[in-house]
């Protein structure tokens, strides 16, 4: 009986083609947008590029000119310097032909139109230059004979910091958007879960009414529908991970089989949650759909889909919420797999997801059983 029902439930689910297709198109489209946008962010924030700057050298600072000209002669110059008077330089800045203006004098000063990465690079350069000048002056004031020695020490390469890598995984924090995208696809399993009650609840649909008066036991009927929804959602999740990993080449770390397992488990959490919400009989189907969509969006928002550090902000203020937010648990399990080499924290997340699935499904069964209708 179960297998017979399962077969037809799968067929029924597959016939809601538009929903299945869109559940697959959703990660495909958003994944492509994310990849396109985030690859460029990586390039923008890490790739070296020459910064255009105007220099107003009213003081005739030969030392600075020597440094600037020396830099300009290098293969990858930090600055592209244009010498100008104050008015010309301001005009260049206004037209955005330069990112800032350096004024020479007792110390270098900087003028910019607004603050951004290039402007911060200029500020860093000016600070560095001024610091070195101060060092030489102070050393010379202490001991005039030491000025040359100080200059030599300043030009020596110092490596005061040794680095200790924290992870062997992919440290690119933009990957977290893909974790959250997968969590959102899993949460949209809620729609599949809602569909189970829609076709089984007698007061919701004609199909539900027919099923309710059939001789097939309700437990078997719902179990098969739930299993079919799990299977469909798992297929969606597996295709999403495959697309992100192999077509878009998103680096989720080395534990790919566990990524698949996690995404499948995440999908079952979404389906079970939808089943539970759908089982609440006093709400209309439309109200349930609106509430579940809004609810899943909120959960994804709190897990960091729209604001990257939202999860950590919540961790600092209400950490228990991250433990019970299914979207946060799903995205955190991907994060643990990628970043941590031991599986203790990951195992905790997997157990939480399994517990959510069982808890939501059991509660859903409790709400759907023993329903009697005076008339339909």
């Amino acid at each position: 009986m179960f297998l017979h029902n399962l077969f037809y439930d799968l067929k029924t689910s597959l016939r809601t083609k538009d929903l299945i297709i869109w559940l697959m198109v959703f990660p495909l489209a958003l994944g492509a947008f994310f990849k396109f946008a985030f690859d460029s962010i990586y390039e923008e924030t890490t790739k070296f590029s020459t910064v255009d700057v105007a220099v107003v050298d009213e003081a005739g600072d030969k030392a600075f000119r020597a440094v600037a000209d020396g830099m300009a002669a290098s293969d990858e110059p930090l600055l592209n310097v244009t010498y100008a008077d104050r008015e010309e330089a301001l005009e260049l800045l206004k037209k955005e032909e330069v990112k800032g203006i350096i004024f020479t004098g007792d110390e270098l000063t900087l003028s910019v139109g607004y603050s951004d990465i290039e402007q911060a690079v200029l500020k860093s350069f000016v600070e560095e230059y001024n610091l070195r000048i101060r060092m030489i002056e102070r050393a010379a004031a202490q001991d005039p004979a030491a000025a040359m020695k100080a200059a030599a020490l300043i030009s020596e390469k110092v490596s005061a910091v040794n680095e200790e890598p924290l992870t062997d995984g992919n440290p690119d924090y933009m990957v977290q958007y893909f974790y959250n995208l997968l969590a959102m696809v899993a949460m949209f399993g809620i729609m599949n879960g809602l569909h189970i009650t829609e076709i089984n609840q007698a007061n919701i649909s004609a199909l539900g009414a027919r099923k309710s008066c059939s001789p097939s036991p309700k437990l078997v009927s719902i179990c098969s529908a739930l299993t079919a929804a799990y299977i469909i959602q798992t297929v969606c999740m597996v295709l999403s991970v495959t697309y992100l990993r192999f077509i878009l080449r998103v680096d989720f770390g080395s534990s790919l089989p566990l990524i698949y397992l996690t995404s499948a488990l995440g999908g079952t959490v979404g389906v079970s949650m939808g089943f539970l919400i759908g089982s609440i009989s006093f709400l209309s189907q439309k109200a349930k759909e609106s509430l579940t969509v809004a609810f899943s969006l909120l959960l994804c928002f709190f897990s960091g889909l729209m604001v990257e550090n939202m999860k950590m902000n919540i961790e600092q203020h209400i950490p228990w919420f991250n433990r019970i937010n299914p979207a946060a648990v799903i995205s955190d399990s991907f994060y643990c797999l990628n970043i941590y080499s031991d599986y203790s924290r990951y195992s905790e997340k997997v157990l939480t997801m399994a517990a959510f699935t069982v808890f939501f499904a059991l509660l859903g069964f409790v709400f759907t059983r023993r329903k009697k209708y005076a008339s339909l």
Binding site: F26, E44, L131, L291, L298
Partner: protein, 389 residues
């Protein structure tokens, strides 16, 4: 005005859905913009650093004290997992250990391996903090070599490191005192909120109006197809006006106070974008008929546009190729103008007008495309084609 009245009858029956979505997205708007408007001259100036002092000597404590004046020191437990999480999610920019024997090595003029930093990913903040550590060590070395005692050399190095460079922000237009950073942050996220809230609330109503039974009845009535579409637009626009006022009112209450100067331009900008969203809602509702699919499409449009147009990530951080694609989307011009108004890019009246005109052109284009699609899809021609097929 029969269609216009019918629109509001259907809206009234579906008010629960509209209220849920508007409520949720109002909450999101306030939460997203809150804390995203830190006022710093340079975004990269605000560096959060965690220090673990294993040397624990008077010299190392003095050094940490000096660092506290340069950076924001964040106290966290010296636990590898916590450090990993904090660095990965950029709650701190840098974490490092002052190694045992630091003060002795510094006094002896040794420069290598004085600190151990925890590495997650590369960033400008990391480079700047590391440069500061190297500079400090170099300065102490230079001053001790010049004959100063270690204590005095550390004092002088600290003084030098803490000197702030004189940076001026040139104002070529009006200043942005009328459009505060908090207000600007709230307005920056409005396109995502409008697309998500308005489409989620308005499209279900429009989808009901497009249902076969209602549409066929309307088609055989004396109402002209164009008039029908325009009345739908008018109904949608009135609804969106109410939604827009709710969000603008919330913004004023939370961040803005009364509108002055440039804030009026921001208001006009958001009004134009709300109109674009109205046209988009009518267009989307004309081509789909399922609530579940609507949810997915709204997310693709809302999140997609947000990431490609600089709503969630500033346009300056997006590459040229992304900005080139973003130019074809209305949210790009909205965000561009918003960035000009709040001083993140240079403001000029001509550029601001260009952004507003482009947005208006998008609204008109979307209305025209929708009229065309509805004529083809819902007119007799479409039914005849369907019948032939």
């Amino acid at each position: 005005m029969q269609v216009f009245k019918a629109f509001f009858k259907v809206l009234k029956r579906n008010s629960f859905t509209a209220i849920v979505f508007i409520g949720v997205f109002l909450l999101l708007a306030l939460m997203i913009s809150d804390g995203k408007a830190e006022v710093t001259i340079f975004a990269l100036d605000a560096k959060k650093v965690s220090v673990f002092d294993e040397d624990d000597s008077p010299e190392s404590r003095k050094f940490v004290e000096m660092l506290g004046e340069k950076f924001e020191i964040v106290d966290i437990r010296n636990d590898r997992d916590i450090i990993t999480d904090m660095l990965y999610y950029e709650q701190i920019d840098y974490a490092f250990v002052i190694n045992r024997g630091w003060s002795e090595k510094l006094a002896a003029g040794e420069t290598d391996g004085l600190f151990t930093s925890y590495k997650m990913h590369d960033s400008y903040a990391k480079v700047i903090v590391e440069q500061c550590l190297d500079d400090y060590v170099t300065a102490v070395n230079v001053y001790t070599a010049a004959g100063m005692s270690l204590d005095k050399a550390m004092d002088c190095a600290g003084e030098d490191i803490l000197v702030e460079t004189d940076v001026t922000i040139e104002k070529f237009g009006d200043d942005n005192k009328d459009f505060t950073p908090m207000f600007a942050a709230y307005y920056r996220y409005l396109p995502y909120i409008f697309i998500s809230a308005i489409l989620s609330a308005l499209c279900p109503v429009l989808m009901i109006m497009n249902r076969k039974d209602i549409r066929f009845r309307t088609n055989c009535s004396s109402v002209d197809a164009n008039s029908y579409t325009m009345q739908i637009f008018a109904g949608g626009a009135v609804f969106v006006l109410a939604v827009w006022l709710i969000f603008i009112g919330a913004g004023v209450y939370m961040y803005g106070g009364i509108f002055r100067g440039k804030a009026w331009t921001a208001l006009l900008n958001s009004g134009l974008f709300a109109l674009i969203t109205t046209a988009l809602a009518v267009l989307v509702a004309s081509v789909i008929d399922s609530q579940k699919i609507l949810t997915l499409i709204v997310q693709i449009l809302g999140l997609g546009m947000s990431f490609l147009c600089g709503i969630f990530v500033p346009q300056s951080m997006l590459g040229d190729s992304v900005n080139a694609v973003g130019r074809f989307l209305p949210a790009y011009w909205y965000v561009r103008l918003n960035e000009m108004l709040c001083g993140d890019r240079l403001y000029s009246t001509g550029k601001a007008m260009a952004c507003l005109l482009i947005e208006a052109a998008y609204a008109v284009t979307l209305v025209l495309v929708t009229v065309l699609i509805r004529r083809v899809r819902y007119s007799g021609a479409h039914k005849m084609t369907a019948a032939k097929a």
